[in-house]
């Protein structure tokens, strides 16, 4: 892959990263122009693979000087079109920066580069009986991007978002300066905690790649207890499920407490929509727990039995439910190629998957879901919805997996419209979309406090005076 010497931008990029790592060839750019979602494909003008921090600094300084947009990329599997360039420019592929720098087996944190995949990280951590909160994404996706994008995983019921597990960061700013946040900012080799310093890590979390390029990240990791138990129940409606998940969530005993609607429990998700069979429960829930001893497991089980009895006493429709083995694997054997492939979502539709993915408090799940169900069925789409408790009952996730036939522009637009309608309902109920495509960002910003938007703009302006980083993604 030799870059042509006539393009001045390319020539400069080649001088920074080498001719094998920079290109303007269309077939290479094309492969970065789309992702799983409904977001319209757009091509970067250049693709660059960096292998060192210094190279990233070089690229950013050059791009900042020339006011060329830069889109950071690790695997591009965010289901939000976050790595699709809105305004062309340089796509900065970080997959070759894939070293696991340290696993601290005493203080339980790891320091990794941005290109480390879940598969690579899981394999190394397991050697020390350690784990991370693996998401239901492809094992080839990267852990650092998951963390800085407020990704979630199989331990989020206990520890919260993966962004809450960040202990330190090294970041190249859009201007090319190298900064550090967390303990590594004070002592070079110390990566254990962002606290008690001012939480400057917030400048780089949830910003959708618009505020800097993370070059090293410290992440908390956790031991793997040997005894697994999954609590499974079903209910006739969302209201009864909410009651149960509030109740069980209060005890904070689950690593993951998730419920899925009948449509999401189907493999594959029915597409187009089909009605649920009469008499089938509408909701299924699995609470995943890991214990160190059988006695600990029994104690957790006792709590769950009590919760089940309490819910039955209330007269709700809750029932113990057998959950298919394959589905349980999908919750407990992470990272997973099967789940990560989105196979069980897309099979009947073909190639496309998007979501209204939101953080919505548990007490808003029922009204929002009932509205979403109407909207999605109106669009002939299955209401394949998931709800999850994070950190006990502190906050919750509500999302619908929407498969669509990507080959058909009409089907893609139908899915997009339905999803945006769902988001409006959720936003009006106090929820917030996560990893939002620009369409969603626009809806968020419409409702935002003017002070919030002003602050957002000022921080962005301070970090990225020429608005080069993932330009246009924040919708501000």
């Amino acid at each position: 892959m030799v870059a042509s010497g006539e393009d001045k931008v390319l020539k400069e990029l080649v001088s920074i990263v080498g001719k094998e790592n920079a290109t303007a060839e269309k077939h290479i750019r094309y492969a970065y122009s789309y992702d799983l979602s409904f977001v319209k494909p757009k091509l970067p003008d250049y693709v660059v693979m960096a292998t060192t921090v210094e190279q990233i600094q070089g690229v950013m300084k050059f791009a900042n000087r020339e006011k060329i947009p830069v889109v950071p990329f690790t695997a591009g599997t965010n289901i939000g079109g976050l790595c699709i360039p809105e305004r062309g420019g340089i796509l900065l592929d970080l997959k070759r920066m894939n070293k696991i720098i340290r696993i601290d087996t005493e203080s339980h944190y790891a320091v990794i580069e941005p290109g480390v995949s879940h598969a690579q990280f899981a394999t190394e951590l397991y050697k020390h009986n350690l784990r991370w909160s693996w998401p239901v994404g492809p094992p080839s996706a990267c852990s650092s991007s998951c963390a800085i994008s407020h990704g979630i995983g199989g331990l989020s019921g206990r520890y919260g978002l993966n962004s809450e597990e960040i202990t330190s960061m090294e970041v190249v700013l859009p201007t090319g300066e190298l900064v550090r946040v967390g303990s590594c900012a004070i002592q070079e080799d110390s990566w254990h905690s962002c606290l008690p310093l001012p939480q400057l890590d917030g400048l780089f979390k949830g910003w959708l790649g618009t505020s800097g390029v993370v070059t090293k990240i410290g992440l908390r990791v956790h031991p793997i207890p040997p005894v697994l138990k999954v609590f499974t129940v079903s209910t006739r409606d969302i209201e009864d499920m909410v009651s149960y998940m509030f109740n069980l969530g209060n005890y904070e005993i689950c690593d993951d407490l998730t419920a899925v609607s009948w449509w999401l429990a189907q493999v594959p998700i029915p597409s187009p929509y089909i009605p649920k069979p009469d008499g089938a429960p509408e909701w299924f829930c699995f609470g995943t727990t890991f214990s160190w001893t059988e006695k600990e497991k029994e104690a957790r089980e006792e709590i769950w039995q009590n919760v089940l009895a309490e819910e039955q006493k209330k007269g709700t429709s809750i029932q113990y439910a057998e959950y298919p083995e394959e589905a349980l694997k999908a919750r407990t054997q992470l990272p997973s190629q099967i789940v990560g492939s989105t196979k069980n979502y897309t099979k009947m539709a073909g190639g496309g998957i998007s979501w209204p993915g939101t953080f919505t408090p548990v007490n808003k799940w029922a009204p929002v879901y009932n509205e979403w169900k109407k909207i999605l069925i109106d669009h002939n789409l299955s209401p394949s919805v998931r709800v999850t408790n994070y950190r006990g009952v502190h906050y919750g996730m509500l999302r619908a997996m929407i498969p669509f036939n990507k080959r058909s522009p009409e089907a893609t637009e139908n899915a997009r419209q339905a999803i945006v309608e769902c988001l409006k309902v959720d936003l009006d109920a106090g929820g917030i979309p996560y990893k939002p495509p620009v369409d969603f960002a626009a809806e968020i910003n419409k409702r935002a406090h003017p002070g919030y938007l002003s602050l957002l703009r000022r921080v962005k302006q301070m970090l990225d005076p020429n608005d080069i980083m993932n330009s246009g993604k924040l919708g501000i």
Binding site: K26, H27, T346, K347
Partner: protein, 438 residues
């Protein structure tokens, strides 16, 4: 003879089944313990997403079909750098999984049809096939050079064109023409003779199986030699009593098993004939007690699974309408034809041999780098990739790497030379021949 060889357009629905999830980019198994490994040789070397795994190739295919991408030298170069090893296919969980190598080859067929493929360095393969019926530009008479020691020892190998035999040993061009790989047919024939089996070879009349032509997208040249071979096999069955075709070449084996079957006349032509890889054939005899090892071979070895005798022989079951739910909703895979256990069992049965495994084995074996026309098209890179595999073998502490493919044999030895490694690749039959007596 009609052939059911797909065009890129035929595969369009499959191409749109890819979600771009990127599962295909790295090898991974949950375990426990989890296992991770790089799997795409072109992706490891060239890095850009388009160069990597099926996600990248599907992007190329989509770009061609939607008219966004036009042929350029650089695009062709990227497309022909794929070794079609199927490593990415092994990771995929979507419904287009069974068609992944087919999609890659269909792009190449389109390039050939459009008059821009294969790569200039690969054109000599096709020219040689056309002129000599082999990809090595070797005159017909050279094809039997490897048999000279047998003549000298007064144990000539039967010419099946003249004398009947139960077994046709289909040597393959690499074993016959590629000097460093000639140990493979020599050892195979030696073993067959020691076992007193009634076999013969086509000798100077053997022609290429067409595998390389198919892999680089020249379907017409493939069809020409494949039709000729099918007719030859049929005649040998009718006139010379051939019931079994044994081949020690993974490429030939794959071609006859998976490519020839695309012919409308396959069943008719192959009626009464079984095609089997040498390893599988000898294993049957071993299990029946008709093949015994004598003496000892004190050697620590590691085993390299060739793509063509491994994951390329997977059989897939796609639940098209999703009606089978849970388990069946995923792409079912049947590995019964894949030669994973058999060569290992034979190795471990050789007295003195100690087998130690590399990290990436069986369905996640790392390609030697020579497949898909890459060895001819990009010799240096092919050998560089082979060096990486050799290094992986060296990390096991093994003295030799063993495999069952003359292509891997040549390329991995080139890789070893490139890094001055003591590691040598030998074919399983070369080891077995040392411990089988008449």
């Amino acid at each position: 003879m009609e052939w059911d060889i797909s065009t890129l357009e035929d595969l369009e629905d499959k191409i749109w089944r890819c979600t771009a999830c990127g599962n295909c980019k790295t090898a991974y198994k949950f375990g426990p313990p989890p296992q991770f490994g790089e799997i795409c040789p072109a992706g490891v070397e060239f890095g850009f997403d388009g160069m990597m795994a099926s996600k990248g190739k599907i992007a190329f295919a989509r770009g061609i079909l939607d008219g966004e991408l036009e042929w350029t030298d650089s695009f062709l170069d990227a497309m022909y750098k794929c070794t079609i090893c199927g490593g990415c296919q092994n990771q995929c969980e979507l419904d287009h999984k069974p068609f992944i190598p087919e999609i890659m080859e269909a792009m190449r067929r389109k390039a050939v049809k459009d008059g821009v493929g294969p790569m200039p360095s690969q054109k000599k393969i096709v020219q040689s096939l056309s002129a000599y019926n082999n990809p090595y530009q070797g005159p017909r008479r050279v094809r039997t050079d490897w048999t000279r020691p047998f003549k000298k020892a007064k144990k000539p190998i039967k010419n099946i064109n003249k004398e009947p035999a139960d077994i046709l040993y289909y040597v393959g061009c690499t074993g016959a023409f590629n000097l460093p790989a000639r140990g493979v047919p020599t050892a195979t024939a030696s073993i067959l003779q020691k076992l007193g089996l009634d076999f013969g070879i086509l000798g100077e009349n053997e022609i290429c199986c067409g595998s390389t032509a198919m892999r680089i997208g020249d379907a017409e040249e493939f069809k020409r030699v494949a039709e000729s071979n099918l007719e030859t096999f049929h005649q040998l069955h009718l006139e010379k009593g051939v019931k079994t075709i044994v081949t020690s070449c993974a490429g030939c084996y794959r071609a006859i098993k998976k490519d020839y079957i695309l012919s409308s006349d396959y069943d008719k032509m192959m009626d009464g004939i079984k095609v089997i890889h040498t390893t599988d054939f000898l294993y049957d005899l071993f299990k029946k007690g008709e093949l015994k090892f004598t003496g000892e071979l004190p050697l620590k070895v590691t085993y390299h699974d060739p793509c063509h005798t491994g994951r390329h022989l997977n059989k897939f079951e796609v639940d098209e309408d999703g009606s089978k739910l849970w388990k069946g909703a995923y792409v079912g895979m049947n590995e019964e034809d894949c030669l994973y256990d058999i060569p290992r069992e034979l190795l471990e049965a050789i007295p003195g041999v100690e087998l130690t495994e590399m990290e990436r084995i069986r369905d996640n074996s790392y390609c030697c780098g020579g497949g898909g026309g890459v060895m001819t098209g990009y010799g240096d890179w092919s050998a560089k990739n082979a060096s990486k595999r050799i290094e992986e073998g060296m990390r096991t502490g093994a003295e030799k790497m063993v495999s069952i493919c003359p292509f891997c044999h040549y390329n991995l030895n080139e890789g070893a030379k490139r890094i001055n490694s003591h590691m040598e690749l030998v074919d399983l039959v070369e080891l077995m021949d040392q411990v089988i007596v008449e």
